[in-house]
Amino acid sequence: MATMVVSGRYDNLVKIGDFVRQAAQDAGLDSFSVYQVETAVDEACTNIIEYAYGKEGAGDIECTCQATPSQFVVILRDWGKPFNPRKIHPPNLKAPLKKRQAHGLGLHFIRQWMDEVDFQFTGETGNVLTMVKRKEKTG
């Protein structure tokens, strides 16, 4: 288990990315799974800065990585505003260019590329996003 805490700023995304990529590689994920996890974490952290905190430098992000023989788990915690992810609908991926939304892809990546995604919003311990990537069965 490894934990990193950074201030919620966009220029810290690369640090969290390096940290998570390294942990995912060490856990033995294949390189595309590593890329998927790094992407999901980047998207989630961006949202924390943009929406939970509403701006850069307004609070910390805690990132914890845990590996078991069968899966890789990332837990992100922030102390910003909670939100209801159930209210966020998937983007329309078939719309013609003119009507294509440039927004709304972040949660889509998180949901599609991680095997389990769980948001918990409890006042005291902050908002906790737990994301699980299962390891490929080799053999």
């Binding site: 990315g17 980047d42 260019l97 003119k98 972040g106």
Partner: protein, 111 residues
């Protein structure tokens, strides 16, 4: 991230390298704007050297495509897409929105 811009007779080319996330996407957007501000809307983006692109980068891609295709005045085409980013483009439903070329010269020569 690093961006190199080259101007040709009929198009401009951006060669992008490194990580495109919420922190660096504004730089990408700036480089695009420097081109479209000159009323040039035919753009090749060589993303072979991009090792990470989040939705912030994808957003710049699709917004630039909207700007360029307006009034039929141009288009963004992509050259040399790395596998991971190909997957991200697929998951975003962006593949149908961009012509893709195997190399810079085919992309530039298409304009």
């Amino acid at each position: 991230m690093e961006i190199t811009t080259t101007s040709f007779k009929h198009c401009d080319m951006l060669v992008l390298k490194g990580r495109i996330d919420s922190s660096t996407a504004p730089q990408f957007e700036q480089a695009v704007k420097a081109i479209t501000d000159q009323s040039r809307f035919k753009i090749v983006m060589d993303i072979s050297g991009v090792d990470f692109m989040s939705s912030a980068g994808l957003r710049v891609l699709v917004n630039t495509q909207k700007t360029c295709k307006r009034y039929n005045r141009g288009e963004v085409v992509l050259a040399k897409i790395p596998a991971n980013i190909q997957s991200a483009l697929e998951l975003s439903g962006f593949i149908p929105l961009f012509k893709v070329f195997d190399d810079q010269i085919a992309a530039v020569g298409n304009f």
